[in-house]
């Protein structure tokens, strides 16, 4: 087929035309690219306008065009627009190429001659490339309506319920014995101060009892295979030693168990639990777990108290880990965050100075269900503090630890201040860098705390010590800080200090990202497909993120993301099928020697080696189209649609048609074509 190419050069008002001589570019294309198949070249004010698009659609019919090149803005903005216009004209949309002469030319260069010359070169590149474009059809895959949600915190629960309520199956996997996540450990939630348990528990229960939800607590995802719409997930269900079908959650086993163990998880080391336990009273499911390392029976073969007292005969010491295989169409990752370990800042004395607490410890202190039944007391468990300091940004906004802002600590600290003043007569001092209250009712809450008489010292705390130097410091914690408002160094003696520790990615975040085939930042936060426009999708089709896994968020944001992710998943379930970009690698078996160089190229395991035929092959649906295997194949047996060797090599020739001065770079335009010409000559 001989190419008949239409070229359209956009003025973009003056955005392009102000620097690039668009008319000259179009004229040049019409005259000098005729031998390359250009039959018409136009320049137009706004190609993206409906009139501009119409130009393309009409010319396709009028001039019998079979290729389109639009020189305008970045393809990331309008590629789809012009592909659609091309399709309206009756051509395959992939026979349209965009050339960026705005972002990559008029907006970044000032010399008009040079910019015009560059525009011509870029256009020539586009023309050469489009000559080699192939019609392509998007790849359709079926969507399995079942969904996997990983992480039973508030974000995961929200997502789960949205999907389940819409009538579709959800597997909710949680590594702890109960769902609920961090929120379950909180006392009150800012700024409304409703009790965390009161608002969370109903949703936990709803999730736990929902007919469409299969709860897999005390479980972890071990393997993810497949691709959007068709994932196969391997889950390890750890042994509880309690038969879930028999157990009625009466709790007698926990009563009777004679072995108390410090609770490092839920009570962050401040409380104790039994060797058989549910993390907290409202746990969902209410089925306890035997803490094998601390269970007397497992340690020395005696006891079995729980078994004796269990009327349901649910105790099963022989239980083993189960490996489950789930088939799902989409995955939502809501694995949350870890709290910054305050021990990493030795000068704050956490772990050394008993009355330095972390925010999570303080949450438990405040909680009526907590170790002190809600009494705010010192580590001794009885003395009520008269003065309390709250240090903001611990481990956040600090190049030595985490450079980012943890988003929630300001409001959390204000909440603490309020609770202290509400429940004790103690005096509260906040040590802050900036107070950040971006959120509905947040600033008002700040005002309220101010009115309540909370003190605020603006400055980064340098040191917390119990070494008294001045009178009145004896037996106290002294907070050393520079008050940046007064410019004075201050030593403030306090009874108790709360460190508002920041949020950071789960320590295994990077492995998790690999497991699910998504990418994460240096810190370890999951990277969204687009931070603004597509915040819950990832670069991997069918894998979504919700809550703090992609960065610090407060509860409302996490809930919203859970719902958003659910909405995205439901959308795909509704379509039943989805289109994948046809940018894929294909192995041409007749050329493949089975050298297996490509086998290790694919991070999505889309390449497999077929022993029987001794060739490798690419699973199109799993292929993400990066083209690494195409470039790696020593036999040139793998082709990459959309970015084929032919397209790129041709584009290079086009780009190098002109020198920087706009003059031909070589005596003759296209060696390749030249050879074609000679072959014709010889055949003739």
């Amino acid at each position: 087929m001989t190419e008949r190419i239409g070229v359209y050069v956009c003025h973009c008002g003056s955005n392009i035309a102000g620097v690039v001589d668009v008319a000259e570019v179009a004229r040049w294309a019409a005259e000098n690219l005729r031998d390359r198949g250009v039959v018409i070249a136009r320049d137009y004010k706004f190609m993206c306008s409906s009139a501009g698009q119409q130009l393309v659609t009409d010319d396709i019919k009028e001039y019998d065009l079979n290729r389109i090149v639009v020189a305008a803005c970045s393809p990331h903005l309008h590629e789809r627009t012009f592909r659609t216009a091309t399709a309206r004209g009756g051509l395959n949309p992939y026979l349209c190429e965009l050339v960026s002469i705005r972002e990559q030319d008029s907006w970044v260069h000032t010399n008009k001659a040079a910019a015009t010359a560059k525009a011509k070169a870029l256009l020539a590149g586009g023309v050469e490339r489009v000559r080699r474009n192939e019609p392509m059809e998007p790849i359709k895959v079926d969507i399995n309506p079942a969904t996997l949600v990983v992480g039973g915190g508030i974000a995961g629960i929200s997502a789960t319920l949205e999907i389940a309520d819409a009538g579709f199956k959800v597997y909710l996997v949680e590594k702890d014995p109960s769902i609920g996540g961090h929120m379950a450990q909180f006392d009150k939630t800012f700024p409304t101060l409703d009790c965390a348990a009161c608002i969370l528990t109903p949703r936990m229960v709803a999730a736990g009892t929902h007919p469409n939800v299969e709860l897999l607590t005390w479980s972890e995802v071990e393997k993810v295979e497949g691709y959007v719409g068709n994932f196969t997930v391997t889950v390890r269900k750890k042994a509880r030693y309690v038969n879930e079908d028999l157990c009625n959650g009466c709790g007698v086993c926990q009563e009777k168990c004679p072995w108390k163990v410090p609770d490092d998880v839920f009570e962050v080391g401040m409380g104790r639990r039994k060797a058989i336990y549910t993390p907290f009273d409202q746990a969902v499911p209410r089925i306890p777990v035997i803490d094998r390392p601390n269970c007397a029976y497992f340690k020395n073969g005696t006891c079995k108290a729980c078994e004796k007292f269990c009327d349901a005969n649910a105790i099963d010491f022989t239980q083993e880990d189960q490996i489950l295989t789930l088939q799902v169409g989409n995955i939502i990752i809501a694995t949350g965050y870890d709290l910054f370990d305050a021990r990493r800042i030795p000068q704050y004395g956490y772990g050394r100075l008993p009355n330095v607490f972390t925010s999570l410890e303080f949450e438990r202190l405040c909680s009526a269900a907590g170790p002190t039944n809600g009494n705010i007391v010192l580590r001794d468990g009885k003395t009520a503090p008269k003065t309390i300091g709250i240090v903001h940004c611990v481990g956040s906004r600090d190049k030595n630890y985490n450079a980012y802002c943890s988003a929630i600590c300001c409001m959390q600290s204000l909440k603490f201040a309020h609770l202290v003043m509400e429940r004790t007569g103690a005096e509260v001092t906040n040590f802050y860098i900036d107070i950040r209250t971006p959120g509905k009712g947040y600033e008002e809450f700040y005002e309220r705390v101010l009115e309540e008489g909370g003190h605020f010292v603006r400055g980064k705390v340098a040191d917390i010590t119990d070494a008294a130097r001045l009178p009145g410091e004896e037996g106290k914690l002294i907070v050393q800080v520079e008050d940046t408002l007064t410019g004075k160094q201050r030593r403030i003696p306090l009874d108790m200090v709360v460190l508002s520790a920041g949020l950071q990615p789960r320590q295994n975040a990077k492995d998790a990202a690999k497991l699910f085939g998504i990418s994460c930042s240096f810190d370890g936060w999951a990277i969204e497909k687009h931070p603004k426009l597509d915040p819950v999708a990832t670069m991997t089709e069918g894998v979504f993120v919700a809550g703090c896994v992609s960065g610090p968020k407060d509860i409302p944001a996490s809930v919203a993301q859970g719902a958003a992710a659910a909405a995205r998943v439901l959308g795909m379930i509704q379509q039943k099928q989805m289109n994948l970009e046809p940018i894929k690698a294909t192995v041409h078996a007749e050329h493949c020697s089975g050298c297996r160089i490509c086998n290790t190229m694919c991070p999505y395991n889309a390449i497999s080696f077929i022993e029987a035929e001794g060739v490798s092959s690419v699973n199109a649906a799993m292929c993400q189209g990066c083209g690494t295997c195409v470039a790696a194949c020593p036999a040139g047996a793998i082709s990459g649609s959309g970015f084929s060797d032919e397209q790129v090599l041709a584009q290079i020739e086009g780009l190098l048609r002109l020198g920087a001065d706009g003059e031909p770079l070589r005596r003759t335009a296209y060696p390749a074509t030249h050879h074609e010409a000679i072959e014709e000559a010889v055949r003739a």
Binding site: E590, H591, C592, S593, A632, A635, L649, E679
Partner: protein, 351 residues
């Protein structure tokens, strides 16, 4: 060009034209070659007689007699098919290649030299001056006056001419249009015979004429396809040199054992002879179907499976390839995208 090159003699031409007009005419011509290609043809053994029967061999200077002058006097396209082995090294070779192109219906680039430049193409790493200087100043050369061959020399009795040494070695298709290619250094005799049979069949109308540009007498894939060694996924944590290992595992892919084997990138057709005798493929069958630059493909493949992510670790492994230019362009430098070193090009332009 020496005057002797173009004697105007009609007689022999007329004769050769008359001679068996029925049979298709075959010419076999060696440019700058080692003669291995001709030996490979002779090594089709008794079949050579069938070739002699099928064709009227009008030129095969290395084996039978024949006259340049006859060729000159022939009509354009009178020779049905010409096999050219050897590369373009002097202005005279280029001239004869063009003559034969004119006189032939089909021209075949026969063997590695003609199709990709072969080992002698490595000359394109140096300037022609460097090459002459080296050859005529070796440690055993007695040349106090620094004498160099000159293309025109005034001997006491008269003028002597030498063909000019071109600044760069070129492949046949860089000089004339080529219809078919038969790769290999040299092509395997059984492959030659197969290709000749195909051509004969086509000429008798009993078989299809291969499309122009086809590669004959070779496979569509690469050497690994024919290699009996077991292959696994590739992970190279170190490159070894053949003399460093007393014996390689006879079962396992040599590249997996760290020996830089060119098999993955080299066109199949030889039967993987070298890996079969525990020697690495050196790439004499050239690039696989449709590959633009052999060396680039092999570089990409090797680098892709190097087991390291830190630049210094990567360099540590790559140090195992002591001669990148030779490793990746041993046979194909003259036909590669760059075709030679900057030094060679600059020298070429100066002249």
């Amino acid at each position: 060009m020496s005057p002797a090159a173009k004697p105007k003699v009609a007689a022999p031409a007329a004769k050769s034209a008359a001679k068996s007009a029925a049979k298709p005419k075959l010419a076999i011509f060696g440019a700058a070659s080692c003669g291995g290609c001709d030996i490979a043809i002779v090594n089709i053994h008794e079949h050579i007689l069938e070739v002699a029967a099928a064709f009227d061999i009008v030129l095969w200077p290395t084996i039978l007699d024949g006259k340049y002058s006859d060729v000159e006097a022939m009509a354009d396209g009178e020779i049905t098919i010409t096999l050219v082995s050897g590369s373009m090294r002097t202005d005279e070779t280029v001239h004869l290649a063009k003559l034969l192109r004119r006189k032939s219906k089909f021209v075949v680039a026969f063997g590695s030299c003609a199709s990709e430049g072969c080992i002698p193409g490595l000359a394109n790493l140096s300037s022609s001056k460097e090459i002459l200087d080296t050859a005529f100043s070796t440690s055993s050369t007695d040349n106090p006056d620094g004498i160099r061959p000159v293309w025109e020399y005034q001997a006491p009795e008269g003028v002597l001419h030498l063909p000019e040494f071109e600044p760069m070695l070129r492949t046949l298709d860089q000089v004339v249009d080529v219809d078919y290619t038969i790769p290999g250094c040299p092509p395997e005799s059984k492959q030659i015979w197969a290709a000749l049979q195909a051509v004969v069949a086509a000429l008798n109308g009993t078989g299809p004429l291969p499309p122009k540009g086809s590669v004959l007498g070779a496979g569509e894939s690469t050497v690994c396809d024919e290699c009996a060694r077991k292959r696994d996924v590739k992970k190279i944590s170190r490159f070894v040199r053949i003399q460093q290992v007393a014996a390689f595992d006879p079962e396992i892919c040599l590249l997996e054992q760290g020996l830089p084997c060119n098999g993955p990138a080299t066109r199949s057709g030889c039967g993987a002879l070298c890996p079969a005798v525990a020697a690495p493929c050196i790439g004499c069958y050239g690039a696989a179907e449709g590959v633009v630059d052999y060396g680039a493909r092999l570089m990409s493949a090797y680098a892709s499976v190097v087991e390291a992510q830190k630049p210094e670790e990567i360099d540590g492994i790559l140090d195992g390839i002591v001669d990148p230019a030779g490793q990746f362009y041993r046979f194909s430098l003259a036909s590669s995208l760059l075709r030679g070193s900057k030094a060679a090009w600059n020298d070429g332009e100066k002249q």
